[in-house]
Symmetry: C3
């Protein structure tokens, strides 16, 4: 419960950043990759992932997402709704071109650190967060959803952590994010089978909190969720959330470098590259049809 | 699973006590702050919090509670039922005069150590414990309830951890006590919103095990709970409970001093004092009506 | 997420083994204590505990079980179904003659290390595991069941961790295995009361995943479970399971020697020996009837 240390640690230590030659720099297309729409009346901020066509998660998208999160922290928004502005897809997950073919260590490390940073900023955000899953949300798309505090979803889409079928082992902080939503055996079975659930199944199992039929409903439900915090001083709410999530946060904060190295080692195994390659080819073939 | 060390550590180390000039001393009004009624026939002990009018939790109440728990351990009671002898209130939580205005470090540290000690003795008690929530149980009142092994509640009262709305961040062992009863997102949302649930909601979510309509029913249900242990040797039962709860206990046992310091620092922030002050004033104004 | 270290550690370190004069050696009656039946068509392996009359778990049974698990890992089976070939009993738990009267330190330590090793190999197995609980499964029998990934059970039998009523405290990795299946208070109450649940109760609480009426149904349900992994590369599935179960595995891996010593100390207490002795006598008396 060392509050100040926890919060301070929830960003890449500047010394380490310099050592890795990564520095936050708004991407030139920042306004395009992430759209932010703050409702001045309600204080609610709607953040839309906007990397057409399927919101695949690239280094630049993560950087811009972190920039947006920093802005929202400064502006002390009342709440954030995370959605997609792509058709039918919330996010397709990590951009495969960051993983295949054999990424350079330097690029991959930067990519992974900004993925970590995005998760830390979302998972530990001081303001309440709602995911409005308005399209398919496999793998990294699901990670964004389960890192929020509340989940709404449109019918007829799919959500899940399907890393395993693509030969990838979800990293520990991703598993812990799922375990915090779905304790027990359900989380293990979702992870080991990599099964994608449809909206109704996701609701039945508790992965999703409410099914909504359109954006209007989603905004009304989000408003109800944010209203439960209206009588709570912002600092007390933020610290309560961060202390509650402390173990999950610290597991990553204490292991950022080794987490990146281990994932890279796993990705660079020839058999992993081969499976990702086949998957990549199937995606391209599908696109041509 | 170092049994003897675990149990030995479940009380304030004598060296540390001396250093802080705290020593257990039965308060002169001991019989009044906590009432104990042992049924010689059944071996069940009924412990009633009895600090009128609302069982607000003071240093003296915690000291006396610890003394009672020590007595019950020595007498090897069959089970304990914890209830209130105040009208309509199980316990209103920590006595605000211990927190406001700006408590002295010395008094606060003693207060907090005896709160910790009370929790440790209750959470690790060798005998089975039932909370009969026979009135409202906000904040510290709820902490007493969730530290027991089983919870009964009368209809039409409220229970919850409403620290956040009063500007206070529940300490980690309080969060862990809740997490042990309500895994997953429900515990987080109760904590961050500070919402108080009515009896029916508390039952639906699993915070309460059974709703009872009067004290007679409560005693009958408690008896049924204690009877499930009648064939279990006392030592094996006690160690099983303590090993099962070991991680929660150790989190505090290893951090008693820093836990007290951090909470004090948080309480002494001007903004926290201000919020508690407003709340205190609203309580006094209400009393006058 | 140090995969290779995790897996390497999931067996008794050879240095330690030599120091204790334990070496894996197939028992002469190996084919009798554990029966293995691999279906060449489906790739599913059926492993039957076969120590008549009640599959009480002895050092030799554990050794043979470990040998079988090693074989299955080498053969990369598609899945394993664990069942009993004794009438009406899945397994009666640890062989009491290993615990009473006062076991020698040397024998007990070897016995316990092979129990640990059996659990590690089952809990961390790379292939999917189903327990077909085709008879009573108290204590150690239940441990085998909850260490699998999925549980099927015939009606009208009993399952649970009834160590406490026999004066024994379940060890921490056994408690953690249960907690992974039944989070929250249900696990604590099962452990402290030592209550055995019948099949329907076990299903209602989530301890069992499905009730089946005969072996044919059990094999069909197992096949459905294994089929959920057919599109998942074996390495990714194995690592996902092992990372998900990492904390439970490491708790034992880091404390094997102290875990054995503590359990032995507990077993050798005169009061524990006395309770086990009475229980043992009651079992023998029952047999004579």
């Amino acid at each position: 419960m060392n509050f100040s240390r926890l919060i301070k640690n929830c960003s890449i230590p500047s010394r380490w950043l310099l050592a890795n030659n990564i520095r936050y720099q708004s991407s030139s297309a920042a306004q395009n990759l992430i759209q932010v729409d703050i409702n001045e009346e309600t204080g609610v901020s709607v953040v839309s992932l906007n990397r057409k066509p399927v919101n695949s998660l690239s280094l630049e998208l993560f950087k811009d997402f972190c920039g947006v999160m920093d802005d929202l922290e400064r502006e002390k928004v009342r709440g954030m709704v995370l959605k997609s502005s792509c058709d039918n897809v919330f996010s397709s997950g990590l951009d495969i071109t960051e993983l295949y073919p054999n990424p350079s260590e330097e690029r991959f490390e930067a990519f992974w650190l900004w993925f970590q940073e995005s998760w830390l900023k979302l998972y530990a955000s001081s303001f309440p967060t709602v995911a409005f899953v308005n399209g398919h949300a496999p793998a990294g798309g699901c990670v964004f959803a389960i890192s929020c505090e509340y989940r709404l979803m449109l019918p007829y889409y799919k959500i899940g952590l399907n890393e395993a079928p693509v030969g990838i082992v979800a990293t520990e902080w991703v598993m812990n994010s799922l375990r915090a939503v779905l304790p027990g055996k359900n989380a293990e079975r979702l992870l080991t089978s990599g099964r994608l659930l449809d909206t109704q199944e996701a609701f039945d199992i508790g992965l999703i909190d409410q099914i909504v039929n359109n954006e209007e409903e989603a905004m009304a439900r989000s408003e109800e969720f944010f209203a439960t915090f209206d009588n709570v001083p912002k600092l007390a709410r933020a610290l309560t959330k961060q202390v509650y999530r402390k173990n999950d946060l610290n597991q990553l904060i204490k292991n950022r470098s080794s987490d990146a190295k281990q994932f890279l080692n796993h990705i660079l195994r020839p058999e992993t590259q081969k499976i990702i390659g086949s998957y990549f080819k199937s995606l391209k073939d599908r696109k041509k049809d």
